[in-house]
């Protein structure tokens, strides 16, 4: 047995060494992996993103492809099963030899894929708002980091709505946990006492909200204006807003700002209960720009008139176009070359302004706050300038000292105090 292993190891080592020698300039067609769940609980959100990538690829092919090659999509279904994400990523990178992957929605699926990406030196574009505290050489984060969604929303609460007491309600998983931890610290820094921050976690799909809603209403007893920061995920929102409406709480009394409720989640729901409540994103379908008009028209022409667009779709739109430009700039699809060419890429946002890829693999994007309207859309009431995505939040002491720079420092977790790279690979 041992001898066999030694042999196997030797063989593997030689193949590993030989591999870079094959690194080609371009081999047609250029393959684009799509790693979004098409079945299971996440299918509803992720199928839309798969269709978005396919639409972008078709459009690129119509315009003559890339580097003289056609793009070919390789779609796999990780079925909302986290271990399967790792398996499918390996399959995409080794069996299908894709040049880039667009995929993932949940953080846990991203953490599942990370080791495979870093082992096989793949390239992933991750389009969803997330909790930060990560920067991998092999991932570009085109969704919002906490400082591009959560922090501006809290600022809006503090300054525009005069909220003095915060209820942080979330589904019990990593994104709300980390986001709320950052927000708690941020609010304390802003002078909100710990007693005025109420935190609650509920399971996925929670439906019995009566107690929690009455607790939130009761928070107003000390004369401070209460606001809810909701990181409640998916279906559970329905019951939550229903209960809120049933207790006669309007958005004027207790405003709710949600980070996980977008057009897609609202479509097909009765939003009359939700009118006036808020959501913070980097994109709303109602953004009034020519580019957005064109994007929506193309999407509806392809998928049907009742379909809506949302924030992660814009993230893929920006990510895909930046990747195309980076490949053209690099003249190759080689991951290392494209990765360097990506940094500094600029592309117009659908909401106006320009997104820029930063050395920490995050985008600079504007932050929008919208009020839910009767027709399931958002009325944009606030739009900031572009905000730089921050991989390591400045509001937690242990990550304030960390920074990520893949351009000069070549490190995703660099300790600015000790001036050392904590680790090249990311922690998963």
């Amino acid at each position: 047995m041992k001898a066999q292993f030694a042999l196997a190891a030797a063989l593997a080592a030689t193949t590993a060494l030989a591999a870079p020698a094959f690194a080609q300039d371009v081999e047609c067609p250029i393959k684009v992996g799509v790693l979004h769940s098409l079945s299971g609980t996440m299918a509803i959100s992720e199928t839309t993103l798969k269709d978005t990538v396919l639409m972008l690829i078709d459009k690129q092919n119509e315009n003559g492809g890339l580097l003289g090659c056609q793009l070919e999509a390789v779609v796999v279904d990780p079925a909302s099963d986290w271990p399967l994400f790792a398996e499918k990523a390996r399959e995409l990178l080794t069996v299908h030899d894709v040049d880039v992957i667009f995929g993932n929605w949940t953080s846990v699926s991203r953490k599942s894929v990370l080791p495979v990406l870093e082992e096989l030196n793949g390239l992933l574009f991750y389009p969803v708002q997330y909790e930060g505290e990560e920067s991998s050489k092999n991932v570009f984060y085109t969704g919002a980091a906490p400082n591009q969604q959560a922090i501006p929303a809290v600022d809006y609460f503090l300054e525009e709505l005069g909220v003095e007491k915060f209820a942080l309600l979330g589904t019990d998983y990593v994104y709300p946990r980390t986001t709320n931890k950052i927000l708690e610290q941020y609010l304390k820094d802003k002078g909100i006492p710990a007693d005025d921050i109420f935190v609650n976690y509920t399971p996925f799909g929670h439906s019995d909200w009566s107690k929690i809603v009455s607790d939130v209403v009761g928070l107003g007893a000390d004369g401070k204006k209460v606001g809810v920061i909701s990181t409640i995920n998916g279906d559970a929102n329905v019951g939550f807003y229903k209960e809120l409406a049933a207790s006669g709480v309007s958005a004027d009394d207790i405003p709710v700002v949600a980070f996980s409720v977008g057009e897609e989640e609202l479509s097909g729901l009765d939003t009359s209960n939700l009118v006036g409540h808020l959501a913070a994103w980097n994109y709303f379908q109602s953004a009034d720009t020519p580019a957005n008009e064109e994007f929506i028209a193309a999407w509806k022409a392809r998928m049907g008139d009742d379909r809506v667009t949302n924030d992660p779709m814009e993230a893929h739109y920006i990510g895909f176009n930046m990747w195309v430009n980076a490949v053209e700039a690099a003249g190759t699809t080689d991951v290392d070359a494209v990765e360097q060419a990506m940094i500094g890429q600029e592309f117009p946002n659908l909401t106006g302004g320009t997104a820029k890829m930063l050395p920490n693999h995050h985008l600079s994007k504007p932050v929008l706050i919208g009020e839910i309207t009767e027709d399931g859309q958002f009325d944009i009431i606030s739009q900031t300038e572009e905000v730089d995505g921050d991989a390591w939040t400045d509001f937690l002491p242990e990550s304030a000292v960390l920074t990520s720079d893949w351009k000069d420092l070549k490190c995703g977790m660099y300790n600015t105090e000790t001036k050392t790279c904590v680790q090249i690979k990311s922690n998963y």
């Binding site: 976690y201 279906d235 019951g239």
Partner: protein, 662 residues
């Protein structure tokens, strides 16, 4: 702060006004009327209004409110309702109505047409709800004299959202004029609240405070509690104090640590800073010289003690400042007194304390009642979900894992019917019997096709119905998609029965409670007073004997199973109304339902009731003890049930005799 000097907005305003003048000169050829005075105020504050930030909008609102112009109230209202637009070409404020892809513009005061503009040529002014509240407050003065009582009440709402001292005079005057007793009562309450907050006369404030004894309104507590706000003050022991002290804090107790106390001293400038671990390390690093610090080898500095010692040596060498040792810190702390100090006078705080204590006592009582209501509500939901199961499981000894999917079918039936019947009330009335019929049929089909072959093989029934459950769930996903579908309750079920601000329950939960009571009674009646019930009971007790007496057990089994499934369908409509309709709606209830049946005792409707009550109350109780983690409540409840079953394996209501062996 809102009363910021109007000068702040003046410089830009002058520019805008100049622009407006040019406009007036240059565009005079057009037929549009020049800006009226109230429009001019808008134009003067154009920049602030367009910036639309609560922090800077104050002067603009004040300018309108204090202009004394009769149209000011209308403009404020339009502004609040987001009906003001700005024409980009000349900066004029207009009203706009959508016409195709363009807007038809009209004058804000006269309604005179002002031509059309494309979507991108006008900007809607969208005050956020913070600004809306401020405008509401400014409108109070106008609204208090409005002939419509509803508007006058609206004014009171404006006061509540954003109370100002200036409201007091207007309100007091309005009370005298008020003819509507209901509005007058509300005004009086608002007046007393404003008195507490803004009146100069302490006696009047105290009287107002005392008048609220026993009042349960959240806004009352919201008025009173801020009077008790304290801040932490520190003084030297010897220093005299005339502060209104709430309590004295002893460092090292009551969650007030020595570190926190010392930190306060440092912040107040009463004590020197203690060097932190990070600062110590920085100092050590800075002092590294040829692989050692103050003669200590760097490699040995891998413990806290070693680093502390090295720092001390550095300090002794005079290279870094000395730091205070812990003993020195203690000694220093002993010189000071830490107190929570009220910002109001003792008379006010005493009165408030007395009032609020009485209120809090009542609130606590009502909150307990509220918790009980929540428990009852949850119990009735569990009862509804489980009662169908209790019939099939208890009466027939058949375990139906697809029961949850029948609940889901009922909910989807409601959803589909709402697609066809838009009227919410009618659709629910139709949905209940249709859901019953559909799931009844599905239940009968399941019994005939699958379960009939597996009587006396309960484990295999369990597995086969699992198969059905998996298939049905996926089928629902294929048909309806994975996204939650809406099942909207009629408006009359939309609100909540508010007894007071501490005790309220939504009508939908009351409806579910009523529904479960009806089910309980109907089932009790069917099983105990009807022929069918008699036959069901006889088949349960001894199928062969029953058959010998001319009862067809096959038919009874079929009907019983249909009945149990049909009830699941109705439960599905009810559950869908208060939560959401998804393909895994039922799966979320199935384990809980089995628990309910098992805990209560198989085969007894009373048992299911008892089980549901126990589990409902237990879950709410655990949630109340640990309000920040709903997930934990579920875990603990299941563990409790597992242990409970150890002691009463047959449940609370254990059937005696043969039936118990089924």
């Amino acid at each position: 702060m809102r009363k910021a000097p109007r000068l702040a907005g003046l410089a830009p305003a002058v520019l805008v006004a100049l622009a407006a003048l040019f406009w007036a000169a240059g565009v005079g050829a057009q037929s549009e009327a020049p800006p009226t005075p109230v429009e001019q105020i808008l134009l003067d504050n154009s920049e602030l209004i367009q910036k639309s930030s609560r922090r800077t909008i104050g002067p603009a609102i004040d300018a309108l409110a204090s202009s004394g112009l009769p149209e000011a109230a209308d403009v404020l209202r339009l502004w609040r309702e987001r009906e003001l637009y700005v024409r980009k070409s000349d900066g004029r404020f207009v009203r706009a109505a959508r016409k195709g892809s363009a807007y038809e513009l009209t004058n804000i005061i006269t309604g005179a047409p002002m031509g059309e503009a494309s979507r991108r040529d006008v900007d809607q002014i969208k005050p956020n709800s913070g600004i809306q509240a401020m405008i509401g407050a400014a409108l109070v003065a106008f609204q208090l004299n409005d002939p419509d009582p509803a508007v006058r009440l609206r004014a009171l709402q404006g006061i509540e959202r954003d109370p100002e001292a200036s409201h007091l005079t207007g309100l007091r005057a309005a009370i005298g004029r008020e003819s509507d007793p209901f509005v007058q009562e509300a005004m009086a309450r608002a007046e007393r609240r404003l008195t507490i907050q803004f009146d100069e006369d302490e006696a009047a404030r105290i009287a107002a405070i005392m008048s609220f004894a026993g009042d349960l309104d959240v806004s009352t507590r919201a008025t009173l509690n801020p009077l008790l706000a304290t801040h932490l003050a520190v003084r030297e022991k010897s220093a005299p104090s005339d502060a209104n002290v709430a309590r004295t804090l002893t460092p090292g107790s009551d969650g007030f640590s020595y570190q926190a106390a010392y930190e306060i001293l440092v912040n107040e400038g009463l004590a020197p800073k203690v060097i932190t671990a990070a600062a110590r390390d920085q100092a050590l690093i800075a002092a590294i010289d040829d692989g050692s610090v103050a003669g200590v080898k760097v490699a040995t500095l891998d413990t806290r003690e070693a680093r502390d010692a090295a720092y001390l040596r550095l300090a002794d060498e005079g290279k870094v400042p000395h730091t205070m040792t812990e003993d020195e810190q203690f000694a220093l702390l002993g010189n000071f007194i830490f107190e929570d100090v009220y910002s109001q006078s003792p008379a006010i705080t005493d009165a408030t304390n007395e009032t609020i204590d009485a209120i809090n006592m009542r609130v606590a009582m009502y909150e307990a009642a509220d918790l009980a209501l929540d428990g009852i509500s949850l119990a009735s939901i569990y009862f509804l979900a489980a009662i169908g199961l209790a019939i099939t499981f208890g009466v027939m000894g058949v375990i139906n894992m697809a029961h949850g999917e029948f609940i889901m079918m009922g909910a989807y039936t409601g959803y589909v019917i709402q697609l066809f019947i838009p009227d919410k009330t009618l659709s629910i009335i139709v949905a209940l019997p249709v859901a019953f019929a559909i799931t009844f049929a599905a239940g009968v089909a399941l019994e005939r096709l699958v379960i009939r072959w597996l009587y006396h093989r309960p484990l295999e029934t369990l597995l086969a119905t699992f198969g059905v459950s998996i298939a049905l769930q996926q089928l629902a996903k294929n048909i309806f998609g994975t996204q939650a579908r809406p099942l909207t309750s009629p408006d009359w079920l939309g609100g909540a029965l508010v007894i007071n601000d501490a005790l309220s329950i939504s009508y939908i939960r009351i409806a579910i409670f009523v529904l479960s009571v009806i089910f309980f009674l109907v089932l009790l009646f069917i099983l105990n007073k009807t022929r069918l019930g008699l036959e069901v009971r006889s088949v349960r007790q001894n199928p062969r004997m029953a058959a010998a007496m001319g009862i067809n057990p096959d038919r009874i089994n079929m009907l019983t199973f249909g009945l149990g499934s049909g009830i699941a369908g109705i439960a599905g409509v009810a559950i869908g109304l208060f939560a959401k309709v998804t393909s895994d709606l039922g799966a979320g209830y199935i384990v809980q339902s089995f628990m309910t049946v098992v805990v209560g005792g198989v085969g007894s409707i009373f048992g299911t009731l008892a089980g549901a009550t126990l589990i409902g109350f237990l879950q709410k109780g655990i949630e109340a003890l640990n309000p920040s983690n709903t997930l934990a409540a579920q875990t603990y409840m299941i563990i409790f049930i597992i242990i409970f079953i150890q002691f009463r394996p047959k449940g609370i209501f254990a059937l005696k005799g043969r039936a118990a062996e089924a």
